[in-house]
Subunit: 476 residues, 2 copies
């Protein structure tokens, strides 16, 4: 029984977000710095994501497996770029247990330990494609402030690791998985995203290129929600993965890796919720309705009886029936709004007489009287409407947030004004690096996949020739 949210989303989004997550019981702070606890209501969302994505993986012929938590130090150094990228964040086991020679890291990602096995498992083109995913915890010893779901030293994720005979197949699938992430994000979580390629600085350490989905939060920051990396043959060469090809010659396979994490949960919470509390897309809400009886002494018995009947007949929506008499209906309305239950059903003696129920939508607050015999069907369609409304609203907001810009100073102004700026960019590392320092945290979020850069257009930062169109913003 939490108190309500005490700050407004518009006024202090960071504090508002933290209150939403804590008070709607999705997660809690942990007594370990950098970590947090996913409470049952939050973990349920993760299970729904897993369920959805496991079905999609099956269609792609990807199988789940599990690799060790520990990675030998020398594996890290086999792929030079990869090692450089992850070294600052690696947590090591006490060397008393391992000796100082070859320490053990706690996995920050599993390319190296998996590809060591791939070099054993892949011998012939007949062993390809090899498609393996794992659901696991990973650790990155970040120093930035912890944010529930969004940034922590340990988090849960899935990581897919495929190997192919040809570059074409590999590249095609690298795009397929980012498209799967878009689907997951939009269809299950009602969170619209942009798909694009990462600039060089933001490319995964060791990859040829990285594709990303980015959503856009109401405070004007982008949230990277999933990435798919075309690894080329670099890891295969470093880890000695070779197969006998159709031509009887030894070849290196082509590889990709792709992952999303519990960060997705933070994204939907921040995107959809309001000053009253959590708003969840119905598809990932465990309890889709709350039933509140309006209790008067005289009619109590019949009203509660009817509510219990409803609880039973609406079981498919995992209803919460709250018949506690020590709390007023108004108090309960607030409570279930805070918790993000998509629909509230109110039933009092007058409703009973008239054979209807009051149904209130969490997203719009809209009230309807629904005849009892039409209730089940109507709830189904209302849940669909809520899911769709959350998506359409967010999509509209995303589209309205994207603006064009032609100068750096204008871009800075626009982004301060919570916009995402679409502009031509030279795509040179030096220019990219200068941006971050010049602007306190603006980064290129993604390169547009449409070849929409005009000839003669100039980079918004350095004014040299532009090679790509990029979406710029601040980010989580």
């Amino acid at each position: 029984m939490a108190e309500g949210i005490t700050v407004k989303k518009e006024d202090d989004m960071s504090e508002w977000y933290s209150q939403i997550v804590l008070k709607s019981d999705l997660a809690d702070h942990a007594p370990v710095k950098g970590c947090y606890i996913i409470k049952p209501r939050g973990y349920f969302i993760w299970e729904k994501i897993q369920e959805y994505f496991n079905q999609r993986l099956k269609l792609h012929g990807v199988k789940n497996a599990y690799f060790p938590l520990f990675i030998p130090e020398d594996f890290f150094h086999k792929e030079t770029e990869h090692a450089k990228g992850f070294s600052p964040e690696v947590a090591w086991i006490d060397s008393k247990l391992t000796g100082k020679e070859n320490r053990l890291a706690i996995r920050p990602t599993s390319e190296t330990i998996m590809y060591n096995s791939y070099s054993k498992w892949i011998q012939s083109y007949k062993d390809l494609p090899l498609k393996i995913n794992q659901w696991a915890n990973v650790v990155r010893w970040e120093t930035e402030a912890t944010k529930l779901f969004l940034r922590s030293r340990e988090f849960l994720w899935q990581e897919g690791h495929n190997a192919y005979e040809t570059e074409e197949e590999c590249e095609k699938d690298t795009y397929n998985y980012i498209e799967e992430y878009r689907k997951l994000s939009e269809e299950l979580l009602a969170m619209p995203v942009l798909i694009g390629k990462k600039t060089k600085n933001e490319t995964f350490a060791g990859a040829e290129f990285t594709l990303t989905i980015e959503s856009f939060m109401p405070d004007g920051k982008a949230l990277q929600c999933g990435t798919s990396h075309m690894l080329g043959q670099g890891f295969a060469k470093s880890f000695n993965i070779e197969f006998l090809g159709r031509n009887e010659k030894k070849e290196n396979p082509w590889q990709n890796s792709w992952g999303f994490s519990t960060r997705l949960i933070g994204g939907i919470v921040m995107l959809h919720s309001d000053d009253k509390g959590l708003i969840l897309p119905p598809r990932v809400a465990e309890n889709k309705i709350a039933i509140i009886p309006i209790i008067f002494e005289k009619t109590k018995k019949e009203v509660i009886k009817k509510c219990k009947e409803l609880e039973k007949s609406l079981k498919q929506f995992s209803p919460i029936l709250d018949i506690r008499e020590e709390y007023s209906p108004g108090w309960k309305y607030n409570e279930y709004e805070l918790q993000g239950i998509p629909l509230r059903l109110e039933l009092g003696p007058r409703d009973l007489e008239k054979g209807h129920v009051v149904v209130v939508r969490r997203d719009t607050g809209k009230k309807e009287f629904i005849k009892l015999d039409k209730l089940k069907l109507k709830i189904e369609s209302l849940l669909d409407e809520i899911q769709d409304n959350l998506f359409q609203t967010a999509k509209q907001n995303l589209e309205n947030s994207i603006v064009n810009s032609k100068s750096l100073s204008d871009m800075v102004k626009q982004i301060k004004n919570k916009k995402m700026v679409k502009a031509p960019f030279c795509n040179e590392i030096k220019c990219e690096t200068s941006l971050k320092t010049k602007t306190e945290g603006i980064t290129p979020r993604l390169i547009s996949l449409e070849k929409d850069v005009k000839e003669n257009s100039k980079c918004i930062i350095c004014q040299k020739k532009a090679n790509v169109i990029v979406y710029f913003s601040r980010s989580y």
Copy 2:
């Protein structure tokens, strides 16, 4: 395409087991000492176990959650017995990351970190019972030799952690969960188990008592497959978990914890398999049938066509259709026997003419001709028969393995002869400790829950008054 198993189960069970697991592609050795890789065919079994058990948890009102991998050192020392029990096996993070003052352990089990949160979450009797489970990896820095699925430094498990208002509820549920484990083991995995209480030495560190399920392997060793601990109020007191009771007074809740691990997979592999390879209970086999065409040049087209039709119409059994011509049918029979596919379907030109299929059971090798129009129903019933046969055979073996004994020397002889010995025991720690050294590894596996000790019967070890009946054996 592995070669067959090169040793007999009876001759060298340890080597036989290792070959079965590796060659049927359930798991592989890892390049990290003490760890192993669960390959897709093995992980599928774990997913089936999770699916089954999550449904059972739901009926008990238990919710899944996720707590941090890291546990602060001082949490360990709050419950003295618990700390003593786990200290030798704890893996610590490099203290450069944490400082030396309060190091971080990688969880060997999560009582301490979870109960720290429980002390915040439990304030009133209205917050009880609190029932939380987590699926997670845990690490115990064992020095004994690694055995795939059976013994490793990292393993996957579930750990349930409940808190109750009363001792009665708590104790009752402690029994309920061990009963759930029995069901899981017997109904899903066809692995019969004994249920009992652990002796003092074998009780979980910090628990009042521990219940266990133990299966019995063909080499005469017991395998502990799951435990349920009645924790009493000890942890609640150490972690300051208090609630305002119905009587308006502060009270400590009663707690239990219970877990099983990926070790279960090792158990079923060892129990059911034979010299030809893996035998899996059909309920946890991903591909329940293999379809092998008998190919002759003249009739190839029709036979393969029919096989493809079968593959489609039998989709619910996730069939493997193997139409490769570079391998003979006999080679394929061996391969799918090795892999433990429950049923093999053979179809040649003569079968096609007669409108039947040859169906061969993996467990008994029994062959039947089944008319095509009855195939689906017959496969369903054959799979049930296999599941039941595996269980009944194992149950018979378990029962035949239990013998009574009245002297220590006889017990040693019987156990050497791969038996499990049922005998009276004093249940004193000193006597229990002496047994292990006296006999090189015989331990009391469980105390019978039936109050079946006779008056005046004497402890089989020390000859003093016996207080319980115990099952003794060697163990994994």
